[in-house]
């Protein structure tokens, strides 16, 4: 498997508290990588370091490198806003922008000037809504407020919105935990389809979801990577004692 993201000696601190300890990882291209572990182990911190969201907090410090396609995203000459185009985020609680459904998807297209107004934009909005599996449900009300959608539909809208800026990587921070089972299933199906084109990194605390979706697994505990590898290897033959304990539901 080819490496898309390489993490070298990454350390992260919230004030005095060390959230990530010497993380070294390689995340494969166009596969679903699941980061799992108990609450507080640093999974979301690790995820947020991949699109430089950690630095938005007040007292966070980072050291180390994160290389996407061989280039360190934390290098001094990197333009953060351009860099964030490469990674799309699917957050835990879907947050549509305060606009119509159409404008939500078109937002990214407009700010990055990705296409012309009119027919071209209409076609692109339709395409991304189809990719997110939402088109049929909203095609008659594209200009209605996005907040009128159900929460499952809103999450799919966030997916369409994120895909519109043509990222290479999709980051999911427990993207189905706020959804009902049917919507959750819908999102999971979409993610499995999307891995043909995108590298997907998901954080989840639901073991069953990890087993359904993962090609590659990273198990974290207290800020360290305990074990990582191919999904069927980690789930069936875990090498570490702590991994085995977690898989058996001991914590």
């Amino acid at each position: 498997m080819e490496t898309h993201i390489e993490i070298r000696n990454l350390n992260a601190y919230y004030g005095d508290n060390q959230a990530l300890k010497e993380i070294n990882l390689e995340i494969p291209r166009q596969q679903v990588t699941v980061i799992m572990g108990p609450s507080g182990c640093g999974k979301t911190t690790l995820l947020m370091s991949l699109n430089r969201f950690l630095e938005l907090g007040d007292s966070t410090r980072l050291s180390g490198q994160v290389l996407i396609d061989g280039e360190d995203i934390y290098a001094l000459d990197v333009d953060v806003t351009e860099m964030r185009k490469k990674t799309g985020l699917l957050a835990q609680r879907p947050y549509p922008l305060p606009m119509s459904i159409y404008d939500n998807v078109a937002y990214g297209l407009r700010i990055h000037d990705l296409c012309k107004k009119g027919h071209e934009m209409d076609a692109k909005v339709k395409h991304f809504l189809e990719e997110a599996g939402l088109w049929n449900e909203v095609k008659d009300r594209l200009h209605k407020p996005a907040v009128g959608l159900s929460i499952g539909q809103q999450q799919r809208l966030c997916l369409a919105r994120g895909l519109a800026v043509r990222p290479e990587i999709i980051l999911g921070d427990e993207p189905t935990s706020a959804l009902d089972p049917i919507s959750a299933q819908h999102i999971e199906k979409r993610l499995l389809d999307l891995k043909k084109e995108y590298t997907i990194v998901l954080v989840t605390h639901i073991l069953r979801q990890a087993k359904r979706l993962a090609d590659y697994v990273v198990f974290m505990y207290l800020g360290e990577v305990v074990e990582c590898g191919l999904a069927h290897e980690v789930f069936e033959h875990p090498r570490q004692e702590r991994t085995r304990a977690y898989l058996e539901g001991q914590f």
Binding site: R84, L89, A91, Y107, G108
Partner: protein
């Protein structure tokens, strides 16, 4: 034992309920009394002539005329002042949000605005007057607009700032994750989300501006004519009320209450209108 404890807590609750209802009643009564006075004394003197005519010859002695000069003057003054203040307020409030959150600079600006908010309007009026003297300007609509803008600026900015700071961070995060700059996020996302609150801030400032007498006393002056030029004096409702109450004629004093009623109705209309606009605009707001 248990039931005694519970009973005590219910009594505490009961006492607080009484206090709350009591304060509410007191405030409503005071407000009601003020409104009632204005309506009871003002309504009889309010007629079409009051609203459509300017003061003729002996208006202040009890003869005919109306307060159209003051109505239009006030609308021009407060309208112009609010627009001018908005021109500077909105960018300032957005700037405070986008580029600074807790830096020394932003804290200083906020402190300065808070202090300015508390300065009595007569000081603004005196300041304006001093500048006018230095520039050899006479009392004019323009001077009044500028001073009202200065008066309204801290109120508008601070109120907007407080509202804008309450933008849910996850919403900004959603925009930033798409590769938007902080400025793009502020204009396309934050502004739209907080629009109802921003409209309220503007309304608050407008209400302060239209009701103020001290700041326009020396700067806008007074006139019996409807203002037609920026460089001529303009009348205002608060000053009309003041002048009419100062006369010894009861008919004229009643007209002062009518003017107060008109002022109240203007603020009420603008208030309801803004709420309607803000309601229409908030259909996109994310809860």
């Amino acid at each position: 034992m248990k039931t005694r404890r519970i009973a005590k807590r219910h009594v505490e609750e009961g006492i607080f309920k009484v206090l709350m209802i009591g304060s509410f009643a007191l405030i409503s009564a005071s407000l009601g009394f003020i409104l009632l006075t204005v309506i009871v004394r003002g309504l009889p003197a309010l007629n079409l002539a009051m609203l459509t005519q300017t003061p003729k010859g002996g208006y202040y002695l009890g003869k005919e005329g109306g307060i159209l000069n003051a109505i239009i003057g006030s609308l021009y003054l407060a309208g112009g002042g609010t627009l001018l203040a908005l021109l500077f307020s909105l960018p300032l409030a957005l700037f405070l949000k986008v580029y600074t959150t807790h830096s020394l600079w932003s804290d200083t600006v906020r402190l300065a605005l808070d202090v300015l908010w508390g300065i009595p309007s007569i000081v603004f009026g005196a300041f304006g007057f001093t500048i006018m003297l230095a520039l050899n300007m006479r009392a004019s609509l323009l001077a009044g607009i500028i001073v009202l803008a200065l008066l309204e600026l801290p109120i508008m900015t601070r109120a907007m700032d407080e509202v804008i700071r309450m933008t849910p961070f996850d919403l900004e995060q959603a925009s930033l994750a798409l590769g938007a700059t902080r400025l793009e996020t502020a204009i396309h996302v934050v502004l739209r989300q907080m629009l109802p609150g921003i409209v309220t801030a503007i309304l608050l400032a407008f209400g302060r501006g239209i009701g103020d007498a001290a700041s326009v006393l020396f700067t806008a002056g007074y006139t019996d004519r409807i203002p037609t030029s920026l460089m001529r004096p303009a009348a205002s409702l608060p000053l009309a009320i003041f002048f009419q109450l100062s006369t010894p004629f009861p008919e004229v004093q009643r007209r002062a209450y009518a003017a107060a009623l008109v002022l109240t109705l203007i603020v009420l209309t603008i208030s309801l209108g803004s709420r309607w606009i803000s309601g229409r605009l908030s259909k996109y707001v994310v809860k």
